[in-house]
């Protein structure tokens, strides 16, 4: 508002409106009282129209304006009596100008009030129409123009800024679309080894710097992508930099490790089916990076396979390892075939060189594949770390440990352990053996546990395993009698070739990889458990153990292990229970009655006397399967309870 142009301003003071005439006697003639609209205008100037762009000025000036008015009035009142020289010759002019400004402000405010129809509607006032018009319209037009102008400049500024912004955004997009070759190269340089040979830029994707000894050169060439029309819309993944990798490293590859069974008795191994799909490009990774990583993976797989096949040829084993093109076949256990194959699919076409056992791709042992990768990297690391810097610095280079061997007087065994390092193939075969043995042991235990309900088998697998060893605790119990029947507890240490069983009684048994051995052993232990349980139960029930044998020499011969037996007598010695339990023949329970209670005692001429009544009577077999009770021990407890006379 204050930015109004240099306008011709009428100097005519506004005070005319108030004081028309001051007579000599001091009486003043006032203009007639303000009309309704004038009054309103006056009031309106007190209102703070905060939405107006210049409301601040308004508010700031509102107050002084009022005071000015008052002051002026008083001045005018006394002006004639004693003339007060103003401080400044143009003071009155200034005052008038200011009041003119004030007027305009008011007008503007009124106008804005009027324009916003919701506050009030303006009606023409009958009184002095021309004056009103001139007072209202002229400033309005003037204000409008000035407003328009300033708005226009502001709009222009904004437009300029917007244009700048859009331009820079467009530029950015343009930039992204057609990347700068050099910046790409810089990025490539930060992640890959590059060197300049002649006019070519060559890179190294081999693992040589990480300790690999694989002879593949692993070189890639950096090419500038120029065959693109910059005017046309470029594809999303366009990159000015391209890499050319050796043709034999193209595509994707993986090492497939699987165990095939020649006999169907072996459970499934590695049935997880994870089908490989090409890795989704992560957002923000450059296409060349993906390409190089894939090529590096191919190279690593090739190195692993080359190492394995070299070892397969070198190692002498009873059943020689067979290397056929891209497959190594080994026989860890009789009837079992471990095959390691290099699957390399090049480009778009279907994998043509994959292993022959394509129809069942689910026997891939991912754990072993992973371990192979891990082992080759360990091998690399070993290569690097074996050539550590000597300390003190004057000492010659050499193997760190071997340098210690002399002054620390290592003996032969220690020196051997420094030098020998098992090959990749040996390790992986050992791991495969262990994995196989472990999963089959688990399966054997589980199938026994599900097949046989009484006694129960529980297996507690250790929470920490090694690649070559894992252990499981096997508990054989009877339901409801866990506390007293815990004589059969075994720890199975599953190794590479065999399973070592530590029995609770201190025996150590070594089982071979044959499944039948473990199963037979567990079955015989379960059979023994029942007899042990009777023995324990007898203690609890107050019965006396007359005889106990883990391995009975009498009766039918068991095909697995031996039958065991126990004989217990009731607390008062009247009754006796004999139990014989065999892993195959099952259990047989006999009860011996006191002679006095049996009716059909065979009459004998010899034992007529009453004292012979204390002799034991005949045995009767209990029809065990018709006994009440949920399991063997429960039945036995019931039987003992029944045969224990009430005191």
């Amino acid at each position: 508002m204050s930015s109004g142009p240099a306008v011709r301003v009428s100097i005519e003071s506004s005070c005319e409106k108030q004081v028309q005439e001051v007579s000599l006697d001091g009486t003043e003639t006032y203009v007639p009282p303000l009309s309704m609209s004038q009054n309103l205008a006056k009031l309106a100037q007190r209102i703070d129209f905060s939405q107006g762009s210049d409301s601040e000025d308004d508010g700031a000036e509102g107050e002084p304006r009022d005071r000015e008015w008052g002051k002026q009035e008083t001045e005018e009142e006394e002006g004639t009596l004693k003339f007060q020289p103003s401080l400044w010759p143009w003071d009155s002019v200034r005052n008038n100008l200011r009041s003119a400004l004030t007027e305009m402000c008011v007008l503007y405010d009124v106008l804005s009030v009027v324009k916003e129809k919701k506050y009030m509607a303006l009606d023409p006032v009958s009184q002095d129409p021309t004056r009103v018009l001139c007072a209202l319209q002229t400033p309005q037009v003037f204000q409008l123009i000035s407003k328009k102008k300033s708005l226009a400049t502001a709009a222009q500024l904004l437009l300029k800024g917007a244009e700048k912004l859009s331009k820079s955004v467009a530029e950015n997009q343009e930039n992204r679309r057609q990347r700068d070759f050099n910046s790409e190269l810089l990025r490539l340089r930060s992640q890959w080894k590059l060197r300049k040979v002649g006019d070519k830029i060559l890179g190294d994707l081999s693992y040589r710097s990480a300790g690999s000894l694989f002879p593949h050169h692993g070189t890639f060439e950096v090419i500038k992508n120029t065959d693109i029309d910059l005017d046309k819309k470029t594809p999303e993944d366009y990159c000015p930099l391209n890499v050319q990798i050796p043709s034999d490293l193209e595509g994707s590859a993986y090492i497939k490790v699987s165990i095939q069974k020649q006999a169907p008795d072996i459970g499934d191994l590695g049935t997880i089916s994870l089908f490989r799909r090409p890795q989704k490009n992560k957002v923000g990774t450059q296409p060349w990076h993906v390409k190089l990583e894939a090529a590096q993976n191919v190279l690593l797989c090739k190195e692993i396979f080359a190492q394995l096949s070299r070892e397969a040829v070198q190692i002498k084993s009873q059943i020689p390892h067979i290397v056929v093109k891209n497959q190594i076949i080994s026989q860890p256990f009789p009837g079992l075939q471990l095959s390691i194959s290099l699957c390399h699919s090049t480009g778009e076409k279907k994998p043509s060189r994959t292993s022959p056992d394509k129809p069942k791709p689910d026997d891939h042992l991912y754990v072993l594949e992973h371990n192979l990768h891990q082992m080759i990297r360990e091998f690399h690391k070993q290569q690097l770390s074996s050539v550590v810097m000597p300390h003190p610095a004057s000492a010659p280079f050499g193997h760190k440990r071997l340098r210690l061997a002399g002054p620390l007087a290592y003996d032969k065994a220690e020196i051997c352990s420094l030098q020998q390092s098992e090959g990749l193939l040996e390790k992986i075969i050992k791991q495969a053996k262990h994995i196989f043995l472990r999963s089959r042991t688990a399966r054997t235990i589980d199938s026994l546990a599900s097949r046989i309900e009484d006694p129960q088998i529980q297996a507690h697998w250790s929470n920490i395993n090694d690649v070559y060893e894992s252990s499981v605790k096997v508990l054989i119990t009877s339901q409801g009698y866990e506390q007293i029947c815990k004589s059969i507890q075994l720890q199975l240490n599953i190794g590479v070739e065999q399973i070592r069983v530590v029995h609770r009684d201190g025996r150590v048994i070594t089982l071979s990889h044959q499944e039948q051995e473990l199963q037979d052993f567990l079955l015989s232990q379960m059979s023994q458990h029942q007899v042990h349980a009777v023995q324990q139960l007898a203690k609890v029930m107050g019965w006396h153990v007359l005889s106990f044998s883990n391995h009975v020499g009498l009766g039918p011969v068991e095909s697995i292990g031996n039958a065991s037996s126990v004989t217990v007598a009731s607390p008062n010695g009247e009754y006796a229970i004999s139990v014989r339990n065999g892993p195959e023949s099952g259990c047989k329970v006999l009860v011996q009655f006191p002679r006095s209670q049996t009716k059909e005692v065979p009459k004998s001429d010899v034992i007529q006397d009453s004292k012979w009544n204390h002799l034991r009577g005949p045995y009767k077999e209990v029809q065990w399967n018709r006994m009440e009770g949920r399991n063997f021990v429960y039945k036995m407890e019931l039987l003992m309870a029944a045969l224990t006379p009430c005191p």
């Binding site: 002399g406 002054p407 620390l408 007087a409 290592y410 003996d411 020196i415």
Partner: protein, 215 residues
């Protein structure tokens, strides 16, 4: 990796009456095999003697012994009698060649002890013939009980073991161990072994000097 420290003792077995050295060794071998010990390669301990040539101070110089043990094939032990000892790698021998103007090898003093190693559970037994200037002088038996590192702890056990194949010739606890405060077979165990061998060699040498009619 630590160093295998264990308890071992070296003793001298007198040659049986009316038998040659080789025959006596065979008898011991047979006894060991009867016990169940398994032959496990061979071993060799040798000892060279050096003495300083020019001694500035004039005082009688001590003898320097440089020994090797096939049990620690990469090491070379250098000992002064009753003095400090050094364990070094095989290059020490080369250094001794360089030093030959200052330390002279006593040619006739080379002692060697060769024989077989036997393993019986955790015991390692080495029966060897001691040779001085290419003539057999005596028999040494080294018994090592690998799992135990405190000689005093397992001495009874070793004695019982040695009784079973040496008969009455069981030695007393070697002075090397008795002198140690803790009785611990220190990390420098190979030095202790070498000291025992050195004592044995010196004993045999003295026997040779005092009475050359050992056999």
């Amino acid at each position: 990796m630590g160093v295998a420290t264990d308890t071992e003792t070296v003793c001298h077995v007198p040659v049986a009456e009316g038998k040659s050295v080789q025959q006596t060794v065979d008898i011991v071998h047979k006894k060991l095999e009867q016990l169940g010990a398994v032959k496990h390669g061979s071993f060799c301990v040798d000892c060279e003697t050096y003495h300083a040539t020019g001694n500035a101070s004039g005082q009688p110089s001590k003898l320097l012994y440089v020994m090797h043990n096939s049990e620690t094939p990469l090491s070379c032990m250098a000992l002064f009698e009753g003095g400090p000892c050094l364990i070094a790698d095989a290059n020490f021998d080369v250094l001794m060649v360089k030093l030959k103007s200052h330390f002279q090898n006593a040619k006739g003093h080379k002692v060697e002890c060769r024989g077989s190693r036997y393993r019986y559970c955790d015991f390692l037994i080495k029966v060897g013939t001691v040779t001085m200037s290419s003539s057999a002088r005596g028999i040494s038996v080294e018994v090592e009980y690998c799992p135990c590192i405190v000689p005093g702890d397992c001495w009874n056990l070793m004695k019982e073991f040695m009784l079973s194949f040496l008969g009455t010739n069981v030695p007393e606890l070697p002075s090397v161990f008795a002198a140690k405060p803790e009785g611990l077979f220190a990390p420098a165990d190979c030095v202790d072994t070498m000291t025992q061998y050195l004592e044995l060699f010196n004993k045999l040498r003295k026997l040779q000097i005092s009475g050359s009619n050992v056999r």
